[in-house]
Point group: none
Chain length 229, copies 4
DNA sequence: AATGAATGAGGCTTCATTCAT
DNA sequence: CATGAATGAAGCCTCATTCAT
């Protein structure tokens, strides 16, 4: 209903291209100035289209952000999968996680994958974290929070979904190569610890010790946790 | 001089009370709706005062937020110190960290302290995280907002300071009871891992496995890391 | 770049018209109520547009005032030049300032030019005088208003520039037709005397004697000063 | 209460003193920051009293300004009278204006009196001019102009009254010593010319030629006008 | 399909004035 | 009489969104 009325379904090539320009501009501006400070007018101009056109392709500023969110997380997920997949494939085929080196490789690969993931578009990553945090609002409800919270909820849902996927996949890895732990719980702890430590390293390096040392200790910690005793 | 013009210095009794009402209302609304969406008018109304009164006590919306931030972090820090101090004191006097139980207690206590800290005012904690993240914006500059960014910087400075204190203290603990690690780096890794895992448990429980299990695994991980070769 | 973000550059026909409406309304209201008491909302309403439109065309209330100022002074200057030019051309070609009649004509023409100039938009003239006076404030500084004072400075610069032009031109006239005086100083004295006397006649007629008599005496005074002995 | 019971005079004395403090502070602040930018709170603080006290002595901010206006003009008038009176008295008793020197003295004295008058409190003088100009608003009336215009009207009335006195007195001088002119009209022209030229010299010296030269030419002009056929 | 002009609610902040203590 | 806390209307400005061309 909504879509058929207000949103143009790209049929022609030019259409698709215009849409892409808007998404690209949005990505850039959301990353650089944040969701609130990036104005629709500004985005439209950066995309080389008129404001009106923006609203021909997206019902909302929110909608654009949502789409970007989704795309971004798809990228991250793909990259993590790729990286770890390759890390594992580079191991002797039959027993990837059995050797000590193999075990260490798994941990190292995962960490590097997360590390790389932050590099895709660091500022956008930050902005997304921000929206997710913001989405946790008002459990008691307020009735007035309305619109913005609606988006926050949706962004959060999307990101949650991606997180679940990442964790599910990590769970599977753990189940196969470090079966001594409750895989699901272990996956959660490992993911959050690694993600957050790396995040800090990336965004607040001045509050952290030397990056290499931190990565080293983080690896040690996860390795010891997953593969000992 | 400056202050006497813009900020009301409480002279009468009523005054102090009004100020408190504003702070309370601010805390509540910042927590529930976030800094940006909590309007001054709204805060004033919630505090049962007129807008003008708000500006009699605070030069800015920012100023209120800053004050709340500071108070909040002071609370958190105090609570952490208390909790861990007690946890250690409850150990056999001569060798707090020498026994296995003592070692486990240290980890457990720290985790519980962080866990409790999130309970003081969870939503406000979230909002602060948000501001810190947001403060990292636009390194290239853009002629950005000035004002808002200024506050972000300040909030971040305050929070950074607190974080540094917490980490310094954690470093000291590690130096004394788990000297096998590089204390500073270990402190950073441990703090971030614990903080984030607990944060997730608190704010996004539906994306995490059973809390008790997570806490258990987190403890195991940190314990193994700190006290096993 | 800057402009394209804050100021609407008329592309459509409607646009230019709207802009004109705003300028007209602004002129009217600044004239009637003064700069400070004429609100943007009010101006917008008078122009038949929304506040937002105002800010689409002008970055500021100041900007509108400045534009009006400039236009106004251009008009005045043009009118003075015209009037005096014609007054001189109407003289016997070879010796415009040599005869007694010619000399009187010059004085008379100048006075009438100034007189007419006040008729373009008397109230606006008053408002400008006001801004110029106000601009002379706080030489010691006080951490003054910044914004408003900035505009005062600008208005004053603009008006000063116009005044300099008028005086330069008057100096030239005097140099050619009444060379007995130090032309520059004479121009200043003549200009200020005439301007102010006429100004009073226009704005505070009830505090002045019969206009015709005043104009007559003013002419006599200036004539005697410029062309005798 | 206590005081009013036991001692009456001291209370009134203190009262008068407080009042005086407010007037002084107001004078200073109106002069330095202008009527609008000088806040009641600020004035009260400068006077060393509470805001409430301000309103015990003056019904209005306007009322204070009015009183200051009046006092200020009384001073100016007194000074002019003094100066010129002395100037005249210093002449040979029987024929003050008959000699050429006497005539020149009259003109010179008047100019110096005006010149001195500007020195009493130049900034306040400026502010008054400003209010007077602002008072000339809306001949058509608007109905919404209300309060502020009310004060403007009053200030203007007061100042007009003073001006009328000055002119009346100048008229008398002219009638006696330069009877060849229509005294009233001549007084107006002379007064305005001198006043404005001096005003410019005082407030906008950078737009005027050398002060001494200007004063010299102004004197010449007025002298020639008044005392030559 | 595209354009960009127009909208207006809503945000932050100031300050003359009142009134309880 | 003095105090200073409280009031709230009013001002300037932003920006997501709609709609005539």
């Amino acid at each position: 209903m909504k879509e058929s009325d207000s949103v143009r379904v790209p049929v022609q090539a030019r259409s698709r291209q215009t849409r892409e320009q808007i998404v690209t501009a949005g990505r850039e501006l959301f990353a650089r100035k944040g969701y609130l400070r990036a104005g629709v007018k500004e985005i439209a101009r950066a995309a080389g289209v008129a404001v009106g056109s923006f609203y021909a392709y997206f019902p909302d500023k929110q909608a654009l952000f949502l789409e970007i969110t989704e795309g971004y997380y798809r990228q991250i997920f793909a990259r993590i999968q790729d990286a770890v997949g390759q890390g594992i494939r580079s191991e002797p085929f039959t027993s990837p996680g059995q050797t000590r080196d193999g075990q260490q490789a798994i941990v190292g690969t995962m960490i590097h994958a997360l590390y790389d993931a932050h590099d895709i578009e660091p500022e956008l990553h930050r902005e997304l974290q921000l929206m997710i945090l913001a989405g946790g609002t008002s459990p008691g409800g307020d009735g007035a929070d309305d619109r913005d919270t609606a988006m926050h909820r949706i962004v959060r849902e999307r990101v949650d979904a991606m997180d679940r996927e990442v964790q599910a996949w990590l769970t599977e890895i753990i189940r196969r190569y470090a079966p001594s732990r409750d895989p699901e719980t272990a996956a959660a702890v490992v993911f959050r610890s690694a993600e957050e430590t790396i995040h800090r390293l990336k965004f607040f390096p001045e509050t952290m010790p030397c990056p290499d040392a931190v990565i080293g200790e983080l690896s040690s910690m996860l390795y010891a946790y997953l593969f000992h005793e």
